[in-house]
């Protein structure tokens, strides 16, 4: 019976990975979008209202891109680590440039 | 003018449809020979782009929005024809060509 146990464990692992991918995609994707578009709004060298509108209208794209990537990438560890990395980099740049969250 | 844009759009998608081997056979009763499909595709693209240009030139940004709507209706019509009465396709082709001539004449004269 060890074989059956193994498949059960695998199934459970798969399920937990799917759920965590969802969480990473939904929450991580939102924060990536927020920070990336904030960065755009902060740094675009044009009138501030124009910069804001450009950032908002194009910033939405970051969300589906992140989402697709989280589910398209094979290695779960890679997804998790890169997500943390990207968030840290974005947050770092934003704070360095004097942005606020 | 509206009609002309729509008819060109429809004609283009008719071309795309007939360029697919299975639809070609359905309509004309034999398999396409040689590179007729690629010719059809090129002609259809030209038709489609012509329709888009026509709508933008005459109506600007509004025209391009309307053009997208026309594409939807054109494909919907063709899907309906292929799902129910594929042999009507030929008659539709004659009808569309005839109407295009009529509309162009109308446009040139008036």
């Amino acid at each position: 019976m060890p074989n059956q146990d193994n498949t059960k464990i695998e199934a459970a692992l798969y399920k937990s990975q799917v759920i965590s991918r969802f969480l990473i995609a939904i929450i991580g994707g939102y924060f990536v979008t927020v920070m990336a578009s904030s960065l755009l709004a902060l740094t675009l060298p044009i009138k501030r209202l124009d910069a804001l509108l450009y950032a908002l209208t194009t910033g939405i794209l970051f969300y589906p891109i992140t989402f697709i990537w989280v589910f398209g990438c094979r290695s779960f560890r890679k997804v998790l680590l890169s997500m943390i990395g990207v968030l840290c980099i974005l947050y770092g740049t934003l704070t360095l440039l004097g942005g606020k969250l | 003018m509206q009609w002309l844009i729509f008819l060109f759009c429809l004609l283009a998608f008719m071309g795309f449809a007939i360029a697919k081997p299975n639809h070609y056979k359905e309509v004309l009763g034999k398999r396409p020979k040689g590179n007729i499909t690629s010719h059809l595709n090129i002609a259809s693209w030209l038709c489609l782009i012509g329709s888009l240009i026509l709508s933008i030139v005459t109506q600007g940004a509004y025209g391009s929005v309307q053009f997208i709507g026309y594409m939807t209706v054109a494909v919907l019509l063709l899907v309906a024809i292929f799902a129910t009465k594929p042999h009507y396709f030929r008659s539709l082709f004659y009808l569309v060509s005839f109407s295009i001539v009529l509309c162009s004449l109308y446009w040139i004269i008036i």
Partner: protein, 527 residues
């Protein structure tokens, strides 16, 4: 790697879609109806049926008369607002708000609909929401806080965007089999219907989803706005410069220089018709006159607006008369979403594309349940999840049209003197929807679908009849008097009835299950 990517996308498409499909169906349904918001409102308000098409040449006269009326009925109001008739709304709407009382943020508002030529009140005006109900339902839902609702709608829309993109990725074949719809092939047909309805209007689906997010973007992503703006007020002042009000002087206004302002406007705007006139603090010397142009077919949502000093008639500021690239992009996106620019042809195209969206969502949801049903072994009992999905499918897909029909019946049948009549119409909508949904929980098999289809067909077919019996005018008289909007409404109701009838007959006929699908189609169906 490639294989697993597609597996991931397939999985994503299925589950993201399933999670929000019923809510999305509601949003798409209400949104599609909202393209005809003013047309529905017109139908729902028989008092305005006989108003003739308004000629914009009368605008100056209408505005002058409206001001006279305001001076008579609301001399102390804080602001007067005139919504001039448009191609889609034949009546004149006058609104004014009183000065706020102690402790109130804004004063009480009053509004009245009038005949634009005589400025008489419209007789037998009924209290109804009409098309505005669907418009609000589209993003505010109902029976809940509007902001919460908008957040829910926003996330459903984000999921929709993801489902769309992953859908395009996995259904590579959709463009290849663009014109293919194989009927009477069981699951295969559902997949075809799903593909066809998504592909034919794919640009529309992507556009409407994306721009839908843009309409709520300031709520969804508040942070970018905080980067270079100190607070919301600064941003507001920069986005809507005409909203800034000069401090009151306490001196009375000698004379309203309306004609001078109007003349200046017509000369400098190339005689563009007006959409709205607002006069702020009309009895103070600091009063302003704001004129909003009717943007017509321009792909721009905020109309060009001009602000004048009410005492001297001098131009103070303009807004949106020339736009920067970013403003064009943002305004254009919102204009595309709301479709206010659309003239009848384009409006119908919008409507057809919206219907395609509804079909896309509905077929997707039905397909999920069918596929699971097919996998069940002969004597296996369906699980709770499958039953839930089947009930929700039936309750939403067939319940919403029925509820909508009920809403229109309520509009015609509820007595006009009823208190809070507009809310009761809405109540009828939700009661009928709840009835269908509860019935769907009890039974959601083929017979139930057939029954609800028949009920829907009957309800929609009866609508023009009931309308004919309760108000003056019917399908024939609309045709004779060229009241195209009303004619279109009744004709559409009959069209909807016919399509439900066709559905009921199809459900009755294809009782026998289709032959086992071939290997190839089975593989495709898995997608």
């Amino acid at each position: 790697m490639r294989e697993s990517f597609f597996r991931g996308m397939t999985w994503l498409h299925t589950w993201v879609g399933l999670l929000v499909c019923w809510l999305l169906f509601l949003i798409f349904f209400a949104g599609t109806a909202s393209f005809f918001r003013h047309e529905i409102s017109l139908w729902a308000q028989p008092a305005t049926h006989h108003l003739p098409q308004y000629n914009h040449a009368f605008q100056q006269q209408t505005v002058t008369k409206s001001i006279e009326r305001f001076q008579h009925i609301a001399p102390t109001a804080e602001s007067w607002r005139i919504e001039l008739p448009t191609e889609r709304r034949p009546s004149l709407l006058l609104m004014y708000s009183e000065k706020p009382e102690e402790g109130e943020r804004r004063g009480k508002r009053h509004s009245e609909y009038l005949d634009p030529i005589t400025l008489d009140a419209l007789p037998e005006f009924r209290d109804t929401k009409g098309g505005n109900f669907f418009y609000r339902l589209h993003f505010d839902l109902h029976y809940m806080n509007a902001i919460t609702a908008r957040w829910i709608v926003c996330f459903a829309t984000l999921f929709m965007l993801i489902a769309l993109i992953s859908g395009v990725v996995i259904h590579k074949r959709i463009f290849k089999d663009l014109f293919q719809f194989r009927s009477k092939k069981g699951l295969r047909s559902w997949l075809d219907a799903h593909n066809v309805s998504s592909v034919i209007a794919l640009p529309f689906h992507i556009m409407i989803t994306y721009t839908g997010l843009v309409t709520l973007i300031f709520m969804l992503l508040p942070q970018p706005a905080q980067q270079r703006y100190e607070d919301k007020q600064t941003l507001r002042a920069e986005r809507y410069p005409l909203l800034a009000t000069a401090p009151a002087t306490g001196l009375p206004l000698q004379e309203l220089a309306l004609n001078k302002a109007l003349d200046h406007y017509y000369t400098n705007s190339g005689n563009a018709p007006l959409r709205r006139v607002v006069i702020s603090s009309p009895n103070d010397a600091s009063a302003t006159i704001k004129l909003y142009a009717n943007a017509g077919r321009a792909v721009q949502d905020d109309p060009p607006s001009w602000m004048y000093n009410a005492a001297s008639g001098e131009l103070l500021k303009t807004h949106n008369v020339t736009l920067s690239g970013a403003e064009n992009l943002y305004g254009g996106m919102i204009a595309l979403h709301t479709g206010r620019l659309a003239e009848p042809t384009l409006r119908w195209l919008y409507f057809i594309a919206g219907l395609a969206g509804c079909v896309m969502i509905a077929t997707g949801a039905v397909m999920w349940a069918k596929r699971l049903r097919q996998k069940l072994k002969r004597d296996e009992k369906p699980g709770f999840g499958l039953k839930l999905v089947e009930s929700l499918n039936l309750g939403t897909i067939m319940g919403l049209p029925a509820a909508t029909a009920a809403f229109f019946y309520a509009n015609r049948l509820l007595p006009t003197e009823l208190v809070a009549r507009a809310d009761k119409e809405v109540l009828v909508f939700f009661i009928v929807w709840a009835i269908v949904a509860i019935a769907a929980c009890y039974k959601s098999d083929r017979l139930a679908w057939q029954l609800t289809a028949k009920v829907n067909a009957l309800a929609w077919a009866g609508l023009p009849v009931v309308s004919m019996l309760t108000i003056e005018g019917n399908l024939v008289s609309y045709l004779i008097h060229k009241q195209w909007v009303l004619f279109g409404f009744d004709a559409l109701a009959i069209g909807i009835a016919v399509s439900f009838l066709v559905q009921a007959r199809k459900l009755g006929r294809s009782q026998v299950t289709p032959a086992a699908p071939s290997r190839r189609s089975q593989r495709e169906v898995k997608i």
